[in-house]
Protein backbone atom coordinates (compact mmCIF):
# COMPACT_ATOMS: atom_id res chain seq x y z
CA UNK A 1 0.00 0.00 0.00
CA UNK A 2 1.28 3.44 -0.87
CA UNK A 3 1.79 6.31 1.50
CA UNK A 4 -1.53 7.78 2.63
CA UNK A 5 -2.03 11.49 3.01
CA UNK A 6 -2.63 11.00 6.73
CA UNK A 7 0.83 9.40 7.01
CA UNK A 8 2.41 12.59 5.79
CA UNK A 9 0.50 14.53 8.47
CA UNK A 10 2.01 12.31 11.16
CA UNK A 11 5.42 12.70 9.52
CA UNK A 12 5.12 16.50 9.50
CA UNK A 13 4.14 16.43 13.19
CA UNK A 14 7.27 14.38 13.98
CA UNK A 15 9.39 16.68 11.85
CA UNK A 16 8.08 19.69 13.76
CA UNK A 17 8.92 18.09 17.08
CA UNK A 18 12.40 17.27 15.81
CA UNK A 19 12.96 20.86 14.70
CA UNK A 20 11.79 22.13 18.09
CA UNK A 21 14.18 19.79 19.85
CA UNK A 22 17.05 20.95 17.64
CA UNK A 23 16.18 24.58 18.35
CA UNK A 24 16.26 23.88 22.08
CA UNK A 25 19.68 22.30 21.71
CA UNK A 26 20.86 25.30 19.70
CA UNK A 27 19.60 27.74 22.33
CA UNK A 28 21.35 25.75 25.01
CA UNK A 29 24.60 25.78 23.04
CA UNK A 30 24.30 29.48 22.38
CA UNK A 31 23.71 30.25 26.05
CA UNK A 32 26.75 28.17 26.94
CA UNK A 33 28.77 29.97 24.28
CA UNK A 34 29.50 26.74 22.39
CA UNK A 35 27.59 27.60 19.26
CA UNK A 36 27.66 31.02 17.64
CA UNK A 37 24.64 32.83 16.33
CA UNK A 38 24.14 32.35 12.66
CA UNK A 39 25.96 34.75 10.38
CA UNK A 40 23.77 35.61 7.39
CA UNK A 41 25.61 36.97 4.35
CA UNK A 42 24.35 38.20 0.99
CA UNK A 43 20.77 38.84 2.20
CA UNK A 44 18.89 41.89 0.85
CA UNK A 45 19.28 44.05 4.00
CA UNK A 46 23.05 43.55 3.88
CA UNK A 47 23.20 44.52 0.20
CA UNK A 48 20.73 47.44 0.35
CA UNK A 49 22.22 48.67 3.63
CA UNK A 50 25.68 48.76 2.08
CA UNK A 51 24.40 50.84 -0.84
CA UNK A 52 22.64 53.16 1.59
CA UNK A 53 26.06 54.12 3.03
CA UNK A 54 27.08 55.61 -0.35
CA UNK A 55 24.41 58.32 -0.11
CA UNK A 56 25.59 61.90 -0.43
CA UNK A 57 28.88 60.67 -1.86
CA UNK A 58 30.86 60.43 -5.08
CA UNK A 59 32.03 57.20 -6.73
CA UNK A 60 34.91 57.85 -9.14
CA UNK A 61 36.04 55.93 -12.22
CA UNK A 62 39.72 54.96 -12.02
CA UNK A 63 42.03 52.85 -14.17
CA UNK A 64 44.84 52.09 -11.72
CA UNK A 65 45.88 52.25 -8.05
CA UNK A 66 47.46 55.72 -8.39
CA UNK A 67 44.15 57.22 -9.49
CA UNK A 68 42.38 55.16 -6.80
CA UNK A 69 44.65 56.72 -4.17
CA UNK A 70 43.87 60.22 -5.46
CA UNK A 71 40.14 59.42 -5.32
CA UNK A 72 40.36 58.11 -1.74
CA UNK A 73 42.36 61.14 -0.55
CA UNK A 74 39.85 63.46 -2.19
CA UNK A 75 37.01 61.90 -0.16
CA UNK A 76 35.38 59.57 -2.70
CA UNK A 77 32.98 57.02 -1.15
CA UNK A 78 34.15 54.43 -3.63
CA UNK A 79 36.00 53.81 -6.87
CA UNK A 80 34.96 52.04 -10.06
CA UNK A 81 37.83 50.21 -11.73
CA UNK A 82 37.84 50.22 -15.52
CA UNK A 83 40.26 49.18 -18.18
CA UNK A 84 39.67 52.48 -20.00
CA UNK A 85 37.70 55.56 -18.95
CA UNK A 86 34.34 55.78 -20.78
CA UNK A 87 35.67 58.58 -23.01
CA UNK A 88 38.53 56.31 -24.16
CA UNK A 89 36.13 53.38 -24.63
CA UNK A 90 34.13 55.61 -26.96
CA UNK A 91 37.23 56.70 -28.87
CA UNK A 92 38.83 53.23 -29.05
CA UNK A 93 35.79 51.40 -30.42
CA UNK A 94 35.98 47.59 -30.55
CA UNK A 95 34.72 45.32 -27.78
CA UNK A 96 34.91 46.76 -24.25
CA UNK A 97 35.18 44.09 -21.53
CA UNK A 98 35.53 43.95 -17.75
CA UNK A 99 38.77 45.35 -16.28
CA UNK A 100 41.97 43.35 -15.67
CA UNK A 101 41.42 41.34 -12.47
CA UNK A 102 45.04 41.93 -11.45
CA UNK A 103 44.53 45.68 -11.59
CA UNK A 104 41.30 45.33 -9.58
CA UNK A 105 43.14 43.32 -6.91
CA UNK A 106 45.96 45.87 -6.74
CA UNK A 107 43.42 48.64 -6.23
CA UNK A 108 41.62 46.62 -3.53
CA UNK A 109 44.88 46.15 -1.66
CA UNK A 110 45.86 49.81 -1.80
CA UNK A 111 42.75 51.67 -0.57
CA UNK A 112 40.24 51.28 2.30
CA UNK A 113 37.07 52.47 0.52
CA UNK A 114 34.76 50.12 -1.45
CA UNK A 115 35.92 48.99 -4.88
CA UNK A 116 33.43 48.51 -7.72
CA UNK A 117 33.94 47.17 -11.22
CA UNK A 118 31.88 46.86 -14.38
CA UNK A 119 30.80 43.72 -16.17
CA UNK A 120 29.11 43.46 -19.55
CA UNK A 121 25.30 43.37 -19.65
CA UNK A 122 24.21 39.72 -19.47
CA UNK A 123 27.73 38.38 -18.79
CA UNK A 124 27.11 36.19 -15.70
CA UNK A 125 30.68 34.95 -15.66
CA UNK A 126 32.42 38.29 -15.68
CA UNK A 127 30.16 39.07 -12.71
CA UNK A 128 30.98 35.77 -10.96
CA UNK A 129 34.70 36.47 -11.35
CA UNK A 130 34.32 39.98 -9.94
CA UNK A 131 32.47 38.50 -6.96
CA UNK A 132 35.20 35.88 -6.60
CA UNK A 133 38.04 38.43 -6.39
CA UNK A 134 35.99 40.34 -3.79
CA UNK A 135 34.71 43.44 -5.56
CA UNK A 136 32.19 45.26 -3.30
CA UNK A 137 29.74 46.37 -6.00
CA UNK A 138 29.21 45.24 -9.60
CA UNK A 139 28.02 47.64 -12.28
CA UNK A 140 26.26 45.76 -15.10
CA UNK A 141 27.10 48.54 -17.47
CA UNK A 142 26.14 49.77 -20.90
CA UNK A 143 29.61 51.36 -21.17
CA UNK A 144 30.93 47.87 -21.94
CA UNK A 145 29.77 45.88 -24.98
CA UNK A 146 26.64 43.86 -24.06
CA UNK A 147 26.75 40.09 -24.56
CA UNK A 148 22.99 39.67 -24.27
CA UNK A 149 20.80 42.50 -25.54
CA UNK A 150 17.61 40.68 -24.47
CA UNK A 151 18.31 39.67 -20.91
CA UNK A 152 20.24 41.02 -17.97
CA UNK A 153 21.98 39.01 -15.25
CA UNK A 154 19.79 37.44 -12.55
CA UNK A 155 21.28 39.46 -9.75
CA UNK A 156 19.40 37.72 -6.92
CA UNK A 157 21.90 34.87 -7.25
CA UNK A 158 24.83 37.00 -6.10
CA UNK A 159 26.17 37.85 -2.66
CA UNK A 160 27.58 41.11 -4.01
CA UNK A 161 25.15 43.95 -4.77
CA UNK A 162 24.66 45.26 -8.31
CA UNK A 163 24.04 48.70 -9.75
CA UNK A 164 22.31 49.11 -13.11
CA UNK A 165 21.78 52.06 -15.40
CA UNK A 166 18.30 53.27 -16.35
CA UNK A 167 16.99 56.08 -18.51
CA UNK A 168 13.35 55.74 -17.46
CA UNK A 169 11.31 54.47 -14.51
CA UNK A 170 10.20 51.26 -16.26
CA UNK A 171 13.84 50.38 -16.98
CA UNK A 172 14.77 51.08 -13.37
CA UNK A 173 11.95 48.93 -11.98
CA UNK A 174 12.79 46.07 -14.34
CA UNK A 175 16.39 46.13 -13.09
CA UNK A 176 15.24 46.14 -9.44
CA UNK A 177 12.98 43.19 -10.25
CA UNK A 178 16.06 41.35 -11.57
CA UNK A 179 17.79 41.99 -8.24
CA UNK A 180 19.64 45.30 -8.69
CA UNK A 181 20.32 46.93 -5.29
CA UNK A 182 21.03 50.35 -6.75
CA UNK A 183 20.07 52.38 -9.84
CA UNK A 184 21.96 55.11 -11.65
CA UNK A 185 20.88 57.24 -14.56
CA UNK A 186 22.51 56.16 -17.79
CA UNK A 187 23.18 59.61 -19.16
CA UNK A 188 25.53 59.36 -22.10
CA UNK A 189 28.84 58.06 -20.73
CA UNK A 190 32.18 59.52 -21.69
CA UNK A 191 30.77 62.75 -23.12
CA UNK A 192 31.46 65.21 -20.28
CA UNK A 193 27.94 66.40 -21.06
CA UNK A 194 25.44 66.16 -18.22
CA UNK A 195 22.44 66.85 -20.50
CA UNK A 196 21.38 63.22 -20.90
CA UNK A 197 21.68 62.48 -17.18
CA UNK A 198 19.40 65.46 -16.49
CA UNK A 199 16.93 64.21 -19.08
CA UNK A 200 16.86 60.67 -17.68
CA UNK A 201 16.60 61.84 -14.10
CA UNK A 202 13.66 64.11 -14.86
CA UNK A 203 11.89 61.36 -16.82
CA UNK A 204 12.14 59.03 -13.83
CA UNK A 205 10.96 61.74 -11.41
CA UNK A 206 7.97 62.63 -13.59
CA UNK A 207 6.81 59.03 -13.85
CA UNK A 208 7.12 58.67 -10.07
CA UNK A 209 5.04 61.82 -9.53
CA UNK A 210 2.42 60.41 -11.88
CA UNK A 211 2.25 57.06 -10.04
CA UNK A 212 2.14 58.89 -6.73
CA UNK A 213 -0.84 60.88 -8.00
CA UNK A 214 -2.63 57.68 -9.04
CA UNK A 215 -1.99 56.23 -5.59
CA UNK A 216 -3.17 59.37 -3.80
CA UNK A 217 -6.43 59.25 -5.74
CA UNK A 218 -6.68 55.46 -5.22
CA UNK A 219 -6.64 54.90 -8.98
CA UNK A 220 -5.05 51.44 -8.87
CA UNK A 221 -6.36 50.67 -12.33
CA UNK A 222 -4.19 53.45 -13.76
CA UNK A 223 -1.14 51.95 -12.01
CA UNK A 224 -2.04 48.57 -13.46
CA UNK A 225 -2.35 50.01 -16.98
CA UNK A 226 1.00 51.79 -16.58
CA UNK A 227 2.57 48.46 -15.68
CA UNK A 228 1.07 46.64 -18.64
CA UNK A 229 2.01 49.31 -21.13
CA UNK A 230 5.55 49.69 -19.85
CA UNK A 231 6.38 46.11 -18.98
CA UNK A 232 6.78 46.82 -15.29
CA UNK A 233 6.07 44.50 -12.31
CA UNK A 234 2.99 45.76 -10.45
CA UNK A 235 4.32 45.21 -6.90
CA UNK A 236 7.32 47.45 -7.54
CA UNK A 237 5.24 50.14 -9.26
CA UNK A 238 2.86 50.17 -6.30
CA UNK A 239 5.76 50.37 -3.82
CA UNK A 240 7.23 53.29 -5.80
CA UNK A 241 3.84 55.02 -5.84
CA UNK A 242 3.53 54.66 -2.05
CA UNK A 243 7.11 55.77 -1.34
CA UNK A 244 7.14 58.65 -3.81
CA UNK A 245 10.69 57.76 -4.82
CA UNK A 246 12.65 54.84 -6.27
CA UNK A 247 12.63 51.97 -3.76
CA UNK A 248 16.44 51.72 -3.91
CA UNK A 249 19.26 54.27 -3.83
CA UNK A 250 19.43 56.25 -7.08
CA UNK A 251 22.66 57.91 -8.24
CA UNK A 252 23.29 60.21 -11.17
CA UNK A 253 25.83 59.18 -13.79
CA UNK A 254 26.90 60.01 -17.30
CA UNK A 255 28.65 63.25 -18.19
CA UNK A 256 29.19 64.85 -14.77
CA UNK A 257 32.34 67.00 -15.14
CA UNK A 258 32.18 69.94 -12.69
CA UNK A 259 31.09 70.65 -9.08
CA UNK A 260 28.08 72.51 -10.47
CA UNK A 261 27.07 69.42 -12.48
CA UNK A 262 27.19 67.31 -9.31
CA UNK A 263 25.21 69.88 -7.30
CA UNK A 264 22.59 70.08 -10.06
CA UNK A 265 22.03 66.31 -10.01
CA UNK A 266 21.81 66.28 -6.20
CA UNK A 267 19.34 69.15 -6.28
CA UNK A 268 17.20 67.22 -8.77
CA UNK A 269 16.95 64.52 -6.10
CA UNK A 270 19.71 62.03 -6.80
CA UNK A 271 21.21 60.26 -3.77
CA UNK A 272 24.80 60.70 -4.94
CA UNK A 273 26.90 60.81 -8.10
CA UNK A 274 29.19 58.68 -10.23
CA UNK A 275 31.91 60.62 -12.01
CA UNK A 276 33.36 58.78 -14.96
CA UNK A 277 35.74 60.52 -17.30
CA UNK A 278 35.04 63.94 -15.74
CA UNK A 279 37.89 63.79 -13.21
CA UNK A 280 40.77 61.92 -14.80
CA UNK A 281 40.12 63.39 -18.26
CA UNK A 282 40.48 66.90 -16.83
CA UNK A 283 43.71 68.83 -16.31
CA UNK A 284 43.22 69.22 -12.56
CA UNK A 285 42.13 65.77 -11.36
CA UNK A 286 43.23 66.00 -7.70
CA UNK A 287 41.61 69.32 -6.88
CA UNK A 288 38.58 68.60 -9.09
CA UNK A 289 37.93 65.35 -7.23
CA UNK A 290 37.93 67.23 -3.90
CA UNK A 291 35.72 69.99 -5.30
CA UNK A 292 33.10 67.55 -6.62
CA UNK A 293 33.01 65.75 -3.24
CA UNK A 294 32.42 69.08 -1.47
CA UNK A 295 29.73 70.21 -3.93
CA UNK A 296 27.89 66.87 -3.65
CA UNK A 297 27.75 67.02 0.16
CA UNK A 298 26.80 70.72 0.36
CA UNK A 299 24.68 70.84 -2.83
CA UNK A 300 21.93 72.76 -1.01
CA UNK A 301 24.28 75.59 0.01
CA UNK A 302 25.12 77.80 -3.02
CA UNK A 303 27.97 79.50 -1.13
CA UNK A 304 29.81 76.22 -0.61
CA UNK A 305 29.12 75.00 -4.15
CA UNK A 306 30.56 78.30 -5.45
CA UNK A 307 33.60 77.72 -3.26
CA UNK A 308 33.94 74.25 -4.84
CA UNK A 309 33.42 75.58 -8.36
CA UNK A 310 36.18 78.17 -7.79
CA UNK A 311 38.60 75.36 -6.97
CA UNK A 312 38.46 74.13 -10.57
CA UNK A 313 39.30 75.91 -13.80
CA UNK A 314 36.96 75.69 -16.76
CA UNK A 315 40.03 75.89 -19.03
CA UNK A 316 41.00 72.39 -17.98
CA UNK A 317 37.53 70.81 -17.71
CA UNK A 318 37.03 67.81 -19.94
CA UNK A 319 36.22 69.22 -23.38
CA UNK A 320 33.27 66.95 -23.88
CA UNK A 321 31.13 65.89 -26.79
CA UNK A 322 27.84 67.37 -27.95
CA UNK A 323 25.24 64.59 -27.86
CA UNK A 324 23.90 65.69 -31.29
CA UNK A 325 27.26 64.84 -32.87
CA UNK A 326 27.09 61.20 -31.79
CA UNK A 327 25.57 58.81 -34.33
CA UNK A 328 22.47 56.99 -32.99
CA UNK A 329 24.22 53.61 -33.31
CA UNK A 330 27.08 54.91 -31.13
CA UNK A 331 24.82 55.87 -28.21
CA UNK A 332 25.57 53.73 -25.16
CA UNK A 333 22.30 54.57 -23.38
CA UNK A 334 20.18 52.48 -25.77
CA UNK A 335 22.02 49.29 -24.79
CA UNK A 336 20.11 46.87 -22.53
CA UNK A 337 16.63 48.25 -21.87
Amino acid sequence: MGLRLIDSYVYIEKLRNLIYQLLEIRDEMVSEGVERHSIKVGIPIVKLGFISMFKGGVIMDVTNEVQAGIAEDAGAVGVMVLDKLPYDVRMAGGVARTADLNVIERVMNSITIPVSAKCRIGHEWEAKLLEEVGVDLIDESEVLTPVDEKSHINKWNFRVPFVNGAKSLPEALRRIYEGASMIRTKGEPGTGNVAEAVKHFKLVTRDISMLRGYYASKDFEAIWIYCKENNVPYELALLTAKLGRLPVVNFAAGGIATPADAALMMWLGSDGVFVGSGIFKSGDAEVRAKAIVLATSYYDDPETVAEAQKMVSENVSMVGIDIRRIKPEELMQSRGV
Binding site: I43, G49, T112
Partner: protein, 198 residues
Protein backbone atom coordinates in the same frame (compact mmCIF):
# COMPACT_ATOMS: atom_id res chain seq x y z
CA UNK B 1 11.61 67.64 24.00
CA UNK B 2 15.10 66.29 23.35
CA UNK B 3 16.83 67.62 20.23
CA UNK B 4 19.05 65.07 18.53
CA UNK B 5 21.25 66.09 15.62
CA UNK B 6 22.47 63.74 12.90
CA UNK B 7 25.65 64.67 11.05
CA UNK B 8 24.45 64.95 7.44
CA UNK B 9 27.65 65.32 5.42
CA UNK B 10 27.50 61.87 3.83
CA UNK B 11 26.06 58.43 4.59
CA UNK B 12 22.72 57.07 5.75
CA UNK B 13 21.75 60.04 7.95
CA UNK B 14 18.17 59.98 6.63
CA UNK B 15 17.51 56.53 8.18
CA UNK B 16 18.59 57.88 11.58
CA UNK B 17 16.43 60.98 11.24
CA UNK B 18 13.38 58.91 10.25
CA UNK B 19 13.90 56.54 13.17
CA UNK B 20 14.37 59.40 15.66
CA UNK B 21 11.16 60.99 14.40
CA UNK B 22 9.27 57.85 15.39
CA UNK B 23 10.31 58.24 19.07
CA UNK B 24 7.90 60.39 21.11
CA UNK B 25 9.43 63.49 22.70
CA UNK B 26 12.37 63.60 20.30
CA UNK B 27 13.08 66.15 17.60
CA UNK B 28 15.76 65.44 14.98
CA UNK B 29 17.91 67.80 12.96
CA UNK B 30 20.38 67.44 10.09
CA UNK B 31 23.78 68.92 10.96
CA UNK B 32 25.98 70.39 8.24
CA UNK B 33 27.41 73.53 9.84
CA UNK B 34 29.08 74.24 13.16
CA UNK B 35 26.26 76.45 14.45
CA UNK B 36 23.72 73.66 13.79
CA UNK B 37 25.18 72.06 16.93
CA UNK B 38 24.19 74.92 19.25
CA UNK B 39 20.57 73.94 19.85
CA UNK B 40 21.22 70.20 20.24
CA UNK B 41 21.12 67.92 23.29
CA UNK B 42 22.77 64.93 21.56
CA UNK B 43 24.50 64.07 18.29
CA UNK B 44 24.69 60.99 16.07
CA UNK B 45 27.56 60.49 13.62
CA UNK B 46 26.07 58.03 11.11
CA UNK B 47 27.48 55.32 8.87
CA UNK B 48 28.98 56.14 5.51
CA UNK B 49 32.61 56.31 4.42
CA UNK B 50 34.77 57.38 7.36
CA UNK B 51 37.47 58.85 5.08
CA UNK B 52 34.86 60.96 3.24
CA UNK B 53 33.10 62.22 6.36
CA UNK B 54 36.47 62.85 8.03
CA UNK B 55 37.63 65.00 5.15
CA UNK B 56 34.38 66.98 5.05
CA UNK B 57 34.42 67.51 8.84
CA UNK B 58 37.56 69.65 8.63
CA UNK B 59 36.40 71.91 5.79
CA UNK B 60 33.77 73.88 7.73
CA UNK B 61 35.27 73.52 11.19
CA UNK B 62 32.76 70.89 12.28
CA UNK B 63 35.62 68.90 13.80
CA UNK B 64 36.27 71.74 16.25
CA UNK B 65 32.52 72.11 16.85
CA UNK B 66 32.05 68.43 17.70
CA UNK B 67 35.04 68.43 20.09
CA UNK B 68 33.52 71.42 21.92
CA UNK B 69 30.12 69.66 21.91
CA UNK B 70 31.66 66.61 23.58
CA UNK B 71 33.60 68.73 26.08
CA UNK B 72 30.34 70.41 27.09
CA UNK B 73 29.21 66.97 28.32
CA UNK B 74 26.52 66.34 25.75
CA UNK B 75 26.35 62.74 24.43
CA UNK B 76 27.51 61.62 20.98
CA UNK B 77 26.85 58.23 19.36
CA UNK B 78 29.08 57.16 16.47
CA UNK B 79 27.70 54.38 14.27
CA UNK B 80 30.03 52.35 12.04
CA UNK B 81 31.95 55.10 10.21
CA UNK B 82 30.94 57.32 13.16
CA UNK B 83 32.62 54.88 15.59
CA UNK B 84 35.78 55.00 13.46
CA UNK B 85 35.70 58.81 13.56
CA UNK B 86 35.47 58.81 17.38
CA UNK B 87 38.42 56.43 17.82
CA UNK B 88 41.96 57.41 18.76
CA UNK B 89 43.49 54.50 16.90
CA UNK B 90 42.36 53.10 13.51
CA UNK B 91 43.82 50.28 11.40
CA UNK B 92 42.45 48.54 8.32
CA UNK B 93 42.42 44.75 7.89
CA UNK B 94 43.83 44.98 4.34
CA UNK B 95 45.82 48.21 4.25
CA UNK B 96 47.08 48.46 7.85
CA UNK B 97 47.65 51.98 9.23
CA UNK B 98 45.18 54.24 7.43
CA UNK B 99 46.59 57.59 8.56
CA UNK B 100 43.06 58.96 8.07
CA UNK B 101 41.57 61.92 9.95
CA UNK B 102 39.57 61.05 13.06
CA UNK B 103 38.25 63.14 15.95
CA UNK B 104 40.41 61.10 18.41
CA UNK B 105 37.88 61.43 21.22
CA UNK B 106 37.58 57.86 22.48
CA UNK B 107 40.21 55.56 23.97
CA UNK B 108 39.45 52.72 21.60
CA UNK B 109 41.25 50.95 18.77
CA UNK B 110 39.05 50.17 15.77
CA UNK B 111 39.83 47.61 13.07
CA UNK B 112 38.25 48.71 9.79
CA UNK B 113 36.76 46.09 7.46
CA UNK B 114 37.28 43.63 10.32
CA UNK B 115 35.08 40.93 8.82
CA UNK B 116 36.18 41.33 5.20
CA UNK B 117 34.72 42.97 2.14
CA UNK B 118 31.05 43.53 1.19
CA UNK B 119 30.43 39.87 0.30
CA UNK B 120 31.28 39.07 3.94
CA UNK B 121 28.91 41.73 5.34
CA UNK B 122 26.36 39.99 7.53
CA UNK B 123 23.37 40.03 9.83
CA UNK B 124 23.65 38.33 13.20
CA UNK B 125 22.96 38.93 16.85
CA UNK B 126 25.04 40.84 19.38
CA UNK B 127 24.78 40.93 23.13
CA UNK B 128 24.94 44.37 24.74
CA UNK B 129 25.19 44.86 28.54
CA UNK B 130 21.98 46.22 30.11
CA UNK B 131 20.22 46.32 26.71
CA UNK B 132 20.30 42.58 25.94
CA UNK B 133 20.40 40.71 22.62
CA UNK B 134 20.08 42.74 19.49
CA UNK B 135 19.73 41.91 15.80
CA UNK B 136 22.71 43.57 14.17
CA UNK B 137 23.71 44.32 10.58
CA UNK B 138 27.44 44.72 9.94
CA UNK B 139 28.22 46.43 6.63
CA UNK B 140 31.94 46.13 5.80
CA UNK B 141 31.84 46.65 9.51
CA UNK B 142 34.58 47.72 11.86
CA UNK B 143 35.32 45.98 15.15
CA UNK B 144 36.33 47.55 18.43
CA UNK B 145 39.46 45.58 19.26
CA UNK B 146 40.80 47.48 22.28
CA UNK B 147 39.57 49.89 24.93
CA UNK B 148 41.65 51.61 27.60
CA UNK B 149 41.34 54.37 30.19
CA UNK B 150 37.67 55.14 30.88
CA UNK B 151 36.50 53.36 27.73
CA UNK B 152 34.78 50.03 28.13
CA UNK B 153 33.52 47.49 25.59
CA UNK B 154 29.93 46.60 26.52
CA UNK B 155 28.72 44.71 23.42
CA UNK B 156 30.21 41.73 21.61
CA UNK B 157 29.78 39.87 18.34
CA UNK B 158 30.71 36.21 17.98
CA UNK B 159 31.94 35.69 14.43
CA UNK B 160 33.80 32.77 12.81
CA UNK B 161 36.88 35.06 12.84
CA UNK B 162 36.59 35.48 16.61
CA UNK B 163 34.88 37.48 19.33
CA UNK B 164 35.00 41.24 18.72
CA UNK B 165 33.81 44.39 20.45
CA UNK B 166 30.65 45.81 18.85
CA UNK B 167 29.64 48.56 21.31
CA UNK B 168 31.89 50.69 23.53
CA UNK B 169 31.16 53.56 25.92
CA UNK B 170 33.31 56.25 27.52
CA UNK B 171 31.69 59.01 29.60
CA UNK B 172 29.27 60.74 27.18
CA UNK B 173 30.45 58.80 24.08
CA UNK B 174 29.02 55.65 22.48
CA UNK B 175 30.67 53.76 19.61
CA UNK B 176 28.56 51.20 17.73
CA UNK B 177 30.07 48.96 15.03
CA UNK B 178 26.75 47.82 13.51
CA UNK B 179 23.70 49.65 12.17
CA UNK B 180 20.70 49.97 14.55
CA UNK B 181 19.08 52.32 12.02
CA UNK B 182 18.79 49.47 9.49
CA UNK B 183 17.02 47.07 11.85
CA UNK B 184 14.87 49.73 13.54
CA UNK B 185 15.99 48.79 17.07
CA UNK B 186 15.57 51.96 19.15
CA UNK B 187 17.21 50.75 22.39
CA UNK B 188 20.57 52.41 21.67
CA UNK B 189 18.77 55.64 20.71
CA UNK B 190 16.86 55.54 23.98
CA UNK B 191 20.14 55.08 25.83
CA UNK B 192 21.56 58.14 24.01
CA UNK B 193 18.43 60.16 24.84
CA UNK B 194 18.54 59.16 28.52
CA UNK B 195 22.19 60.30 28.62
CA UNK B 196 21.11 63.63 27.10
CA UNK B 197 18.44 64.06 29.79
CA UNK B 198 20.93 63.55 32.63
Amino acid sequence: MVSVGVLALQGDFLEHIQLLNSIPGVGSFAVKFKNDLDKLDALIIPGGESTTIGRLLTIKGLDVGIREFVNSGRPVMGVCAGAILLAKNVVDRFVGETGQFTLRLMNIKVLRNAFGREKDSFESEVFVDILGNMKAVFIRGPAIVEAWGDAKIIGFIDHPLGRFGAVAIERNLIAVAFHPELTGDIRLYKYLISEARR
